[in-house]
């Protein structure tokens, strides 16, 4: 029979899987709520999920390919950039939403108990739904350009996990810092923008000198995006070294993020 122990937060266990399992329905309901509310009273509805990457693809193609002549590893630029955006949109959306989730739900935090991590996990869950929608759009592009998926498709799900872990880990830090320090809210869009330029979304990885690949791998989004291109748009795979480094970074972010978040969790209701 359930035994609940109320204790000071520094004594909390890092990840209470049992508790998260008990609250699994709340996780699903929170994801459902995020998705449902987004489409209320809109005319376009769910289509917004694919409209945004579509418009960005068009914009980037015009500016970076037609006007600036950006190389794209032999792939048609629209396909190339959408292949990158598929993964990037997932990272950016889950990161921004999860980081802001605690402060956004102040009214919940101060009145009811549930594992706060669920808010961040639900953000990642909603982003996953979007990912699947954009994948549908990408498949249309692939058909249009007559490009078949490569064997890299097998690495796509691990790459999504890598991206999810990175986003989640980073947002654990930021969500916990956002509560007492509202500056974080102003920083988030800026950080996301910088992160995008640090990842090979608009430009190919081959544009950068390969001898520093270990450094690039410190940003797991690089490996995630590259794997997405390898799987769907005909790009080269990331090296095994990069994959390992990125996995290490992602794991570090998750573990350290959990540690920090759990320590601060108990004070959210007071400071938010």
């Amino acid at each position: 029979m359930a035994k609940i122990i109320v204790r000071p937060t520094p004594l909390h266990v890092l990840l209470d899987i049992g508790e998260l399992w008990r609250y699994r329905y709340l996780f699903l309901v929170l994801v459902w709520r995020t998705l449902k509310v987004r489409t209320q009273q809109t005319v376009v509805g769910v289509a917004w999920t694919v409209l945004q990457p579509l418009l960005l693809t068009a914009l980037f193609t015009v500016i970076f390919s037609l006007l600036a002549g950006m190389p794209s590893d032999g792939q048609p630029y629209p396909l190339f950039v959408l292949g990158g955006l598929l993964m990037w949109q997932f990272v950016a959306f889950s990161f921004q939403t999860a980081s802001g989730s605690v402060v956004a739900e102040t009214h919940l935090i101060t009145r009811i108990y549930f594992p706060r991590i669920l808010l961040l996990l639900a953000a990642v869950g909603a982003a996953l739904f979007d990912l699947v929608c954009v994948l549908g759009l990408l498949v249309c592009f692939m058909i249009w350009y007559g490009v078949a998926p490569s064997v890299g498709v097998l690495a796509f799900i691990p790459a999504v996990l890598l991206a999810a872990a990175t986003s989640f880990g980073l947002s654990l830090w930021l969500a916990a810092l956002y509560v007492p320090y509202r500056d974080v809210g102003h920083l988030l869009p800026f950080m996301t923008q910088v992160w995008m330029f640090l990842s090979p979304v608009i430009y190919p990885l081959s544009l950068l000198p390969p001898k520093y690949e270990a450094v690039y791998a410190l940003n797991p989004a690089v490996v995630a995006v590259q794997t997405s291109r390898w799987a769907f748009t005909g790009g080269p795979p990331p090296s095994a070294l990069m994959a390992w480094i990125s996995t290490g970074v992602a794991l570090f972010l998750v573990v350290s993020g959990l540690w920090f978040f759990r320590r601060r969790e108990g004070t959210f209701a007071d400071k938010v």
Binding site: M1, A2, K3, P8, L26, V29, Y113, G266, T267, K271
Partner: protein
């Protein structure tokens, strides 16, 4: 035993990070320690600012203690506020799912009680309209109704829950009394001494964050009345 509640020396300082408290910090509650055996209905009474809400929030895990710990054996239902998580764009029915899940009900529990919840709240045909179109009365009634159908071995109840017009308030108070008599372990807080005497068997009285009385409810009520007559003094350190 089901529904036991054991609170060891319990302190809570506010505001502070959950590490070492700063010198000169104000303790919302201090050295609060008590035990509630299964099935007992205990009142928590005291003046405003005595630490009642903090105590219940701590037990509901909304905020965490600086020191000490509490052990609750059984599922905990916190009826401290109603309508938590209600989203204005979702319908009443959808919000029942959302709010109910947040309170800890499973989708099956909710499905089973849904008709009862709607019936108690007297919402009728409007259950499928977005709640932003509800009157404040309808909103409160629905919110209370969901919370009142929560089934847990330990319940933390704040009487402020009784909402709506006079007729519905009576309904709420009756429901609270039903919950109190259902054999669950209840911690009940209220400023209405009549309600406390009627519903509770024992009570604790808090004053400036400390327990000043623990025992039968009648003694507690008279202790409370004595305290109410004394002038307000600032919190001792």
């Amino acid at each position: 035993m089901l529904g036991n509640l054991l609170v060891s020396p319990f302190r809570r300082s506010a505001p502070e990070t959950a590490s070492t408290p700063v010198a000169g910090a104000i303790w919302a509650i201090r050295d609060v320690s008590f035990e509630v055996p299964a099935g007992q209905v205990m009142g928590v009474i005291g003046r405003n600012g005595s630490g009642k809400s903090t105590l219940l929030k701590l037990l509901a895990r909304i905020t965490s203690p600086t020191e000490g710990q509490a052990v609750l054996s059984g599922r905990v239902g916190a009826l401290l506020e109603v309508g938590t998580g209600f989203h204005p764009d979702l319908s009443g029915r959808q919000n029942i799912l959302l709010n109910g899940t947040m309170l800890g009900m499973t989708p099956r529990d909710i499905q089973r009680c849904e008709a009862e919840i709607i019936d108690f709240a007297e919402i009728g045909e409007f259950i499928d309209t977005p709640v932003k179109h509800y009157s404040s009365g309808m909103f409160m009634r629905l919110a209370f109704s969901v919370a009142a159908h929560l089934d847990a071995e330990i319940m933390l109840v704040d009487e402020v829950l009784a909402v709506g017009d006079a007729a519905f308030q009576d309904k709420c108070k009756l429901k609270i009394r039903d919950i109190a008599q259902s054999g669950r372990t209840i911690l009940f807080t209220s400023h209405d001494m009549e309600a406390v005497s009627r519903i509770c068997t024992t009570a604790i009285v808090l004053d400036h964050g400390r327990v000043v009385y623990r025992g039968a409810v009648d003694g507690a009520v008279s202790q409370y009345r004595t305290l109410m007559q004394a002038p307000r003094t600032p919190a001792p350190e």
